[in-house]
């Protein structure tokens, strides 16, 4: 049993670490690195404990709830809780932060103090979003996650970092403004900021308030769609992810994108189920956007020559599957009394959640690998490589596993999400599933053709790449946890599916 407020602990451990770093003199770089990594490790341990405990006690209900008044007059409180949906994402956050800081210890050489500080703040913000049960708190942590990322891109990024950072900031800011308006609208209507209470109160229910409901829903949706880089709102992503420093890209693609998907599942779907269903079934805007994200994103991937940019665009494809899964669940609203429908909708929504987790692992690995290659070769231009399989076989092996996981090969963790999403989608919105499945062929094409073939196969230029070194031990240490997760969950997804499934089932049962 756990007798201490573990959720507050996991949110504020990084903050304590950040404050500690603040008082360490900037010259003692080693201490800063150690403290930063140590605090990330503590968070990781807490995340594992949460995972285990939630599995043990029951992932269907909210566990370890803590509720402290914050601004009681306006119903704002500090309200956290964890269930099967957030536990994996917390673990993902803690894992990627730890690996990111571990890897950064050898790659970030300037402004180390600020870097570690911001990274821990970022972790705090992300954990906070995943654990929030209060909309204002959700929004505050949302913003807290956004600002450090903006600075990480803008300060430690590549050549066009400022452009990328500002684009990212404006986008997400506008998105969160839309979201904030919707949140305020919900408050005005229901008089509460608590997600559960607000959902139970059915904001803007009834035909006469339909327009308002639509407006509020779209406010939320745009906020989340920008964050998860769904089709028309995706253009900040390639810039931001390409220009960010390696660990920054890992966090941005691995976790920040998930905020959008998480918000759709946790906030948009329970608050506005009917509106969501309307825009999936009657006016199918959202599934169309999802399918465009998948197919269009994959095609754009195929035309990229910058390794990091290609990987960045592949996120658009994978997050498209997340929206498709959520759409499948939304399409089931109103029919969930039937056991069969509930079963199918749970599959789709669990698939979306599984896809988020798996994508976090895979894209994290891919960005690490891209960073490693860039670190050694000083270029990311795919045309510059060729035949490297001979020179760096270890790297080749790891990259191949990550790529295969990315293209959804069964036996690696990327498969399950796509499979369950498609299974859910063919049940409710088959035309979109039929089109969306094309993404799988295109994904195979762009990973194997662009990444694997151009980097590793072909004639080897000994003069140019003869001194390229294979992975160093710390790079292997960074990659192996991710590879293990890919393989283990690829063969045996039960531990995570159990969590997701229970939480998603509870969520869907709460819908009308």
């Amino acid at each position: 049993m756990i007798y201490y407020p573990i959720l507050s602990a996991i949110i504020f451990t990084p903050l304590v670490g950040a404050l500690l770093i603040l008082v360490i003199p900037r010259e003692s770089v080693k201490t800063i690195r150690r403290v930063g990594t140590a605090f990330a490790c503590v968070t990781l341990i807490l995340a594992v404990i949460i995972w285990v405990e939630v599995t043990r006690i029951g992932a269907g209900e909210t566990q370890f709830e803590e509720l402290y008044p914050w601004i009681p007059t306006f119903g704002v409180s500090f309200h956290v809780g964890v269930d099967g949906l957030s536990a994996p994402l917390i673990l993902l956050t803690a894992l990627l932060t730890t690996l990111g800081l571990f890897y950064s210890a050898r790659t970030i050489k300037e402004r180390v103090k600020e870097y570690y500080l911001l990274f821990l703040l970022l972790e705090m913000g992300l954990c906070g979003v995943f654990l929030s049960l209060n909309l204002v708190q959700f929004y505050v942590f949302w913003g807290l996650g956004m600002v450090p990322m903006f600075l990480i891109i803008g300060v430690w990024g590549g050549e066009r970092r400022e452009h990328a950072a500002i684009k990212y900031f404006i986008y997400t800011l506008l998105g969160s403004m839309a979201m904030l308006l919707a949140i305020l609208g919900v408050y005005v209507q229901t008089g509460t900021f608590e997600i559960g209470e607000a959902a139970a109160a059915r904001p803007f229910h009834g035909a006469e308030q339909w327009t308002w409901a639509c407006l509020a829903f779209w406010g939320l949706f745009i906020g989340f769609a920008v964050k998860m880089a769904s089709f028309p709102f995706h253009s900040w992503l390639p810039d931001a992810h390409t220009e960010a420093p390696t660990a920054g890209s890992v966090m941005a693609a691995g976790i920040l994108l998930k905020l959008g998907g998480y918000g759709l599942i946790r906030v948009a779907l329970p608050l506005f189920p009917e509106v969501f269903r309307h825009f999936v079934v009657d006016v199918p805007v959202i599934p169309i956007l999802a399918v465009i994200s998948i197919v269009y994103g994959a095609l754009v991937c195929m035309a990229q020559w910058d390794l990091k940019r290609l990987i960045a665009y592949s996120s658009v494809v994978h997050m498209g599957y997340v929206s498709l899964g959520v759409c499948a669940a939304a399409a089931s609203v109103g029919m969930l009394d039937s056991q069969e429908v509930l079963n199918l909708a749970t599959t789709g929504l669990s698939g979306a959640a599984m896809q988020m987790f798996a994508h976090g692992i895979i894209i994290g690995g891919l960005f690490f690998l891209a960073g490693i290659l860039y670190e050694h070769a000083h270029t990311r231009d795919l045309k510059a490589f060729g035949g490297l399989a001979r020179q760096i076989p270890y790297y080749y092996g790891i990259m191949l596993v990550a790529c295969l996981a990315g293209l959804g090969l069964p036996g690696l963790c990327g498969f399950w999400g796509e499979f369950f999403v498609l299974r859910g989608a063919v049940g409710f919105i088959p035309p979109y599933a039929f089109v969306g499945v094309l993404g799988i062929v295109f994904a195979a094409a762009y990973t194997l053709w662009k990444i694997v073939q151009h980097i590793f196969l072909g004639q080897f230029d000994r003069r140019k790449w003869g001194r390229l070194r294979d992975m160093a031990w710390w790079e292997k240490v960074t990659m192996w946890p991710l590879v293990l997760v890919m393989v283990v969950f690829g063969f045996y997804p039960a531990p995570i599916l159990e969590l997701l499934n229970a939480a998603v089932m509870t969520l869907l049962k709460g819908l009308p």
């Binding site: 008082v23 600075l151 400022e162 500002i166 506008l174 403004m177 062929v441 045996y492 039960a494 599916l497």
Partner: protein
């Protein structure tokens, strides 16, 4: 735990072990791989005999073992292994052929630098194939199925410095991936409709009857009937994996892999897996019947004929055999479509033996050719796989030659004592039963052609005199390569003697499927015998009696050119240019489309940002309509933004991306003075920004009228118009204090930022003592000016919007 689980496990463990480290040592890799496959072979034999010895009844599973895998929805998905007669006979065939190919590969690949990886991939291939056979549900089958595609890719890619080779590997992977997508969709539909993927659930009569009544809704009231849709989708996978016509091209690419791998891929693993899937799903095809079966039949028959036709014109020995595989699998598909389940399965087994024998035999020949080539140091242009360079090899490779003769006879269905005869005859019988003369005759012609090209290959390679220096000094391959050939030769011939084993096979596999005794009808029997013997005879007359000499034109080619069919011959030889056609259409098309999309993505103003900026633009215009002297400063600010927008329109001529950067720097400059004259400049800057963005969007909107963006913009514009209407109603008394508050907040913020600026610039030394200094140090990296001001602007815009929203809400309430 059941023994069956362990069959695929050992090769998989060998794969892991070799990949993780053992590949550095050739000997260890070989021992691991061969050892693992021997264990699997023994286990498979145990299971096989267990399944065979007691008399089994019906098509029921002999045994099944189930464990929970994961929970999804409300149901637990169970992993299972399942051994029924179909699995049992495959368990006899597959590990045996794999084992022989492994032993053969140990010798064949001896000099290869990637020996270890070769065995690792081969082990994975074997593990995938064995797993595919024993799995008790379609999901595990799919998992193994994809592994097979991956293994062909990896095995072909072993020679990764040869461009033609790895390109072939990629093509093979992508073509099979197309089929995989069909299968995935089919499985998803089946799973969604039945809630299960286990064989005993989905193929039970009750489920099939329920499926027949189910349909999936499409757009606009249309719907898809479940059963035919699923059957066709699964057949799509069969077409791609079993290398049926339009998707057969991957098999021709796959010959680039090492010979032992080709043998496994073509004889037992990847390609036959397609037919296995169809056999597995035969209850589904029986239930759906009618048009779907006609479709599958058409594919099978056409492919059988197509493959045989193209095989007669190939010069590359590997391609002859690949075309032959295509044709033979077409045969099996045709048999399964005609409802001749047992004949199809039996053909799969006989084909496994004869084809692996032929491919390995051919590998022995080309291995000898390559060695001879190396010792002679002949030019790089010499093609060791070309029959025109061979000839008279019987003298140098007697064992290989004898084994090859056995394979040829079995493949062409030499009557009565080869295994091939019994399966081919049964298939023709089934075709005859369909009462479609076209089907029957097409298959009969294909049988004749098969015998012909088999004889042609045999004669061209082994008879006559050597047609090149290289062929004249070929040596017999080593023992580890010839021994598997001998074993396979014995199997390919002896299993059919007198029809004893085939008869047993029909009773064992056929129970519960084809009721009634096996009987013969004289027409198919005669035709089968005539086409086999006739084909062999014609082949011998054309190529064996007067063997081809060096430099002479190939007989068939010469003959066809004489009667002005040279073009047809060329087309046959290039398999009707199908791969070029795909290259020109699908591949080029996709790549072109990809580039179009990428261009679009680069050039089109960013959706969301344009969207928001459009909103700002609309708001500014709406506000300016009230005139400058409207209610108070709050509105006049917006109006100024509108004016600034108009000004900006003139100046704005840069490209979008450039403009954004430019803009940023402008805003940055403006912000430098912000600390002093904040309320003038910052507002201007903000207006500028909004205006530029507005411009961008309106251009975008014009260009992409039909797009979502347009609709969204106009919608928001309307919303904001309503908003401004509302604000027109505002009493100045309400707004003035509000504006004051905003102004005050802005001023406070600006002075705060000014404070920061000085602190940060000056105090960028050390300062652990004071908290303010620490903050300044933390801010330093970002104090590029622009960034900071952005935050400022962002905060202000949030404030303004929130204020507007609250007022709106207030009024709505009021």
């Amino acid at each position: 735990m059941h023994l069956t689980w362990l069959i695929p496990l050992f090769p998989f463990l060998a794969f892991v072990a070799i990949t993780l480290g053992a590949h550095r040592d050739k000997m260890t890799s070989r021992r691991l791989a061969v050892g693992a496959i021997v264990v699997s072979f023994v286990l498979a034999q145990v299971i096989f005999w267990k399944a065979v010895l007691p008399p089994v009844s019906g098509g029921d599973a002999v045994f099944e073992s189930v464990v929970g895998w994961f929970l999804i929805g409300t149901a637990v998905f169970r992993a299972s292994v399942w051994v029924d007669p179909l699995t049992a006979v495959m368990l006899f065939t597959v590990p045996l052929v794999c084992l022989l190919a492994f032993v053969y590969g140990a010798g064949y690949m001896r000099e290869d630098p990637r020996y270890g990886h070769f065995f690792a991939h081969l082990s994975l291939l074997a593990a995938g194939t064995l797993g595919l056979i024993v799995s008790g549900n379609l999901l595990m089958l799919f998992l193994c199925w994809e592994t097979l595609g991956l293994c062909s890719y990896l095995l072909i890619g072993l020679r990764f410095d040869d461009e033609a080779v790895y390109r072939a590997g990629l093509r093979a992977f992508l073509v099979t991936k197309v089929g995989d997508v069909f299968l995935l969709l089919g499985l998803c539909l089946l799973y969604a409709a039945t809630g299960s993927l286990a064989y005993d659930d989905v193929f039970s009569a009750g489920t099939l009857a329920r499926l027949a009544r189910t349909s999936f809704p499409l757009i606009g009231g249309l719907s898809l009937p479940a059963l035919p849709t699923i059957a066709l989708l699964i057949f799509g996978a069969v077409v791609s994996q079993a290398a049926q016509f339009p998707l057969h091209v991957w098999l021709l690419d796959a010959v680039e892999g090492p010979t032992p791998a080709s043998a496994i891929i073509q004889a037992v693993a990847t390609a036959p897996a397609g037919v296995y899937l169809m056999a597995r799903c035969s209850p589904l095809y029986t239930a759906v019947g009618g048009e779907v079966q006609t479709v599958t039949m058409a594919f099978g028959v056409f492919t059988a004929l197509f493959g045989a036709l193209t095989a007669i014109a190939q010069d590359d020995v590997r391609r002859v055999l690949a075309c032959s595989t295509i044709s033979q699998l077409g045969y099996a598909v045709a048999a399964l479509s005609a409802g001749a389940y047992v004949a199809g399965v039996f053909h799969l087994v006989t084909h496994a033996f004869s084809k692996s024998l032929l491919i390995l035999g051919m590998g022995s020949v080309t291995h000898g050719m390559k060695h001879s080539l190396l010792s002679q140091g002949e030019g790089v242009l010499f093609e060791p796989h070309d029959v025109k360079n061979m000839g008279g090899l019987a003298r140098w490779q007697p064992v290989t030659c004898l084994a090859f003769v056995a394979g040829t006879l079995s493949l062409s269905g030499f009557p009565l004592f080869t295994t091939g005869f019994w399966s081919q005859e049964r298939i023709l019988e089934a075709a005859y039963e369909t009462h479609h003369p076209a089907i029957f005759w097409a298959l009969a012609v294909a049988a004749g052609l098969t015998a012909f090209y088999a004889a042609r290959l045999l004669c061209l390679v082994f008879l006559g005199r050597p047609r090149s220096e290289v062929a004249a000094s070929v040596q017999e391959s080593e023992r580890s390569m010839t021994a598997p050939l001998v074993v396979l030769a014995v199997l390919a011939v002896c299993l059919g003697w007198g029809g004893v084993l085939p008869d047993w096979f029909y009773r064992f596999v056929g129970d519960g499927y084809a009721a009634g005794a096996v009987y013969f009808t004289w027409q198919p029997l005669t035709i089968s015998t005539v086409s086999a013997l006739g084909g062999l005879l014609v082949g011998y007359l054309a190529y064996g009696r007067r063997p081809l000499r060096a430099g002479q034109m190939e007989r068939l080619e010469a003959g066809m050119r004489r009667i002005r069919l040279g073009r047809l011959y060329d087309a046959l030889r290039h398999c009707f240019y199908l791969d070029r056609f795909y290259q020109a259409t699908f591949v080029r098309g996709t790549v072109a489309l990809a580039h179009t999309c990428a261009d679009f993505d680069r050039r089109v103003p960013d959706g969301a940002i344009g969207f928001a900026a459009g909103a700002g633009h609309a708001a500014a215009q709406a506000a300016s309509r009230f005139g400058e002297a409207a209610i108070d400063r709050a509105v006049s600010l917006v109006a100024r933004a509108g004016r600034a927008a108009v000004r900006a329109v003139d100046r704005f001529d840069e490209a979008v991306a450039k403009g954004a950067v430019n803009l940023t720097s402008k805003v940055g400059q403006a912000a430098a003075q912000a600390a002093v004259r904040f309320d003038e400049t910052a507002v201007d800057g903000a207006a500028n920004f909004i205006a530029r963005m507005g411009q961008v969007t309106s251009q975008a909107a014009d260009r992409f009228d039909a797009l979502v963006i347009d609709r969204a913009v106009s919608l928001t514009g309307r919303a904001l118009w309503v908003l401004s209407e509302l604000s027109a109603l505002l009493d100045p008394r309400v707004l003035t204090p509000l504006a004051n508050v905003v102004g005050y907040a802005a001023r406070t913020l600006s002075s705060a930022s000014g404070l920061f600026d000085t602190r940060v610039v000056d105090g960028a030394v050390e300062g652990v003592g004071s908290a303010v200094r620490a903050g300044g140090r933390f801010i330093r990296p970002i104090q590029t000016g622009r960034v900071q001001n952005y935050i400022l602007i962002a905060f202000i815009s949030i404030l303004v919007l929130v204020a507007m929203y609250f007022t709106m809400v207030y009024f709505a309430w009021w």
